[in-house]
């Protein structure tokens, strides 16, 4: 276990800058999720921490050591890859013991550690099998076992669940979180899936174009997104954003509709409301229902207001036919206002 400190990390390929000075302080035992669209530099940053990519500028330290010039094996890290990268010619036990063999740990100790890790992950009966004989979830668990066996200072996960089907993903998500709660090893986890980020992270780092957009706890990011990008990236379905201007009576959309909004001294140019906060209200603003998507317990509605399209997520079943005009309203406290640069308006 060790803290990880990334200061002003830069990565250049030739003249292209893929990381433009990223700083993150990770406490001992913290679970940090790097999230962002593909190409945002999150995987590159993880690979720089692992030592698989060189560092073009800044420093990365693990514990109290600057690791910039250390090869992966001297960094005391373990990594779980997207494809799991299990050695196909070795059994599960051999896969897990490989790093110990490289460290010349004697066989008895190594066997005991493998046994212990296998117990923890429920791999006991699979130790003699080869990776090709395992299911996706089992492979995932072996990859984690390989990391756990070494008892490293830091766990690195590179989109470990993206090769699993939806159901298994939910299950493995819980298992990874459970593992972290038991071993309490500092963890950096990369994903493009905001649900994974929300459910697993102590701290989420939202990245875009090689820069950090916002860093904070899942609830902070959800409640107080610092800009439109984060607001739309976190939460599903994503936040409705409507262009317009904030006036004394409320927010006036570009085609003249007036939406109730909290007063602000800042000049707000965008109005944001999460679909689940836009609720049917006979006294609300009339909107035309364009598409109805019943999902069993919930109903998702695509609405039209002038030229704007909005989404509403209703937490119950709703019998309504497309073309119906219904009233909708939102609690003022759930309205987000952004300025012309897309940043959150602060009073």
């Amino acid at each position: 276990m060790a803290p990880v400190k990334i200061s002003n990390a830069l990565k250049r390929y030739g003249t292209v800058e893929v990381l433009k000075g990223v700083s993150i302080d990770i406490d001992e035992g913290e679970f940090v999720v790097l999230v962002g669209p593909s190409g945002c530099g999150k995987s590159t940053l993880l690979r720089m921490v692992a030592g698989l990519e060189g560092i073009s500028g800044g420093t990365i330290s693990i514990g109290d050591r600057v690791v910039n010039d250390l090869p992966p094996k001297q960094r005391d890290i373990a990594m779980v890859f997207q494809s799991y990268a299990l050695y196909p010619h070795m059994t599960v036990a051999e896969n897990m013991a490989f790093s110990l063999r490289m460290k010349r740990v004697d066989k008895k100790t190594a066997d005991a550690k493998v046994e212990q890790a296998a117990q923890m992950l429920g791999l006991g009966s699979l130790l003699g099998r080869y990776p090709r004989e395992l299911s996706g979830g089992q492979r995932q668990r072996v990859a984690m076992g390989r990391a756990v066996v070494r008892n490293p200072a830091v766990f690195l996960f590179d989109e470990p669940l993206s090769n699993l089907d939806a159901k298994l993903r939910v299950q493995m998500r819980a298992e990874i979180k459970d593992l972290h709660q038991r071993v309490k090893t500092t963890t950096i986890y990369v994903t493009h899936d905001q649900v994974e980020a929300m459910t697993m992270a102590d701290t989420i780092v939202v990245m875009r174009d090689g820069k950090i957009e916002q860093m904070g706890t899942p609830i902070e990011l959800f409640d107080n997104p610092s800009n439109i990008f984060v607001a739309q990236f976190i939460g599903s379905p994503s936040m409705n954003i409507i262009e317009g201007t904030l006036g004394p009576k409320g927010f006036v959309t570009s085609d003249g509709h007036v939406l109730p909004a909290p007063q602000s001294r800042a000049v707000a140019k965008s109005y944001g409301i999460r679909p689940e906060h836009l609720v049917p209200d006979p006294a609300g603003i009339p909107m035309e229902v364009v598409i109805v998507e019943p999902m069993g317990s919930e109903t998702q509605l695509i609405l039209r207001l002038g030229q704007s399209t909005l989404t509403s997520l209703v937490r119950h079943r709703l019998d309504v036919v497309p073309g119906t005009v219904m009233g909708f309203s939102a609690d003022l406290s759930s309205v987000h206002l952004f300025d012309q640069n897309g940043n959150r308006c602060v009073d």
Partner: protein
């Protein structure tokens, strides 16, 4: 015509064509085998027969004695095997380097390695012959192994290069993170995974070395160093005969071809699955 009937007819036609093609491909080999089983008188009989009337294997011991078969076989295994093993190892190492690493002059070295394929063996053989003569490598097995090896390197390189590129890089990275150095990664992770490709590459190069004639003929002088294929040029003659001994030539041919059959069976599957094509397309 009814579609099913049409389909059946089509199938029959296909089997018919296949049969004709296979007979044409196999007949010369069949004829070699039965000729080798004919007694001398029958081998020159007019008209020739399509099967031996009085089969005999008497020709074989005669050829084996005349060729010093076991010694020649051992020479061939040594030279073809040594060269194939060397070319597979060196080609494999280079293929790993090219598939995983960046270094100065990479594309130039790649082109140099691959472009040498266009140089005919005859062109290089002359200077090699002169140099071998001066260096004392003429008529030695090590001299043959070296030139066979060099001949096999482009093929080994391209086959294994294609194979290594199909092994995900993440495996190498996992090994580095697990604490393996570059040699451990190579010999404990990548090469064991690539074992099937190494085996096929080795066997194909072995077959190529076994069948090579031009170098083996030109660079050897004494019977003690000669390889099997070259022996075909030394037709064994019976003391009393004045006709070409078809039966003995055929027996010699069988003796050269037969040891390759188990190898062919071993590589047949991979050949049909197109390991060759994948390699050259790269």
């Amino acid at each position: 015509m009814h579609p099913i009937l049409q389909q059946r007819l089509g199938r029959s036609a296909q089997y018919g064509m296949l049969l004709i093609v296979l007979v044409m491909l196999a007949f010369p080999i069949y004829y070699m085998v039965i000729t080798s089983l004919k007694p001398p008188g029958e081998a020159y009989r007019l008209p020739p027969t399509l099967w031996p009337l009085n089969p005999t294997v008497d020709g074989y011991p005669f050829v084996m004695r005349a060729w010093n078969y076991l010694r020649t076989l051992l020479n061939t295994v040594l030279v073809a095997g040594g060269a194939a093993a060397g070319a597979t190892l060196l080609g494999g190492l280079a293929a790993y380097g090219f598939s995983r690493m960046t270094f100065v002059g990479k594309s130039a070295l790649y082109s140099a390695l691959v472009a040498t394929v266009a140089i005919p063996g005859m062109v290089t053989l002359g200077p090699v012959f002169i140099a071998y003569n001066e260096l004392g490598l003429l008529d030695t097995h090590i001299g043959l192994i070296l030139i066979f090896m060099s001949d096999g390197i482009p093929f080994a390189f391209l086959t294994l290069f294609a194979y290594f590129r199909s092994i995900p890089r993440e495996l190498d990275e996992a090994a580095w993170i697990d604490g393996a150095g570059l040699f451990s990664t190579l010999f404990r992770i990548i090469f064991p995974i690539a074992m099937p490709a190494f085996a096929v590459t080795f066997l194909l190069l072995f077959i190529a070395g076994w069948n090579e004639f031009l170098y083996a003929f030109t660079l050897t002088v004494t019977p003690e160093t000669r390889l099997l294929t070259v022996r075909l040029f030394e037709i064994p003659v019976r003391a009393d005969a004045n006709t070409t001994p078809y039966d003995l030539i055929a027996a010699g041919g069988v003796l050269i071809l037969l040891p390759l059959i188990p190898l062919l069976v071993r590589v047949q599957k991979q050949l049909v699955q197109g390991i060759l094509a994948g390699a050259v397309k790269g």
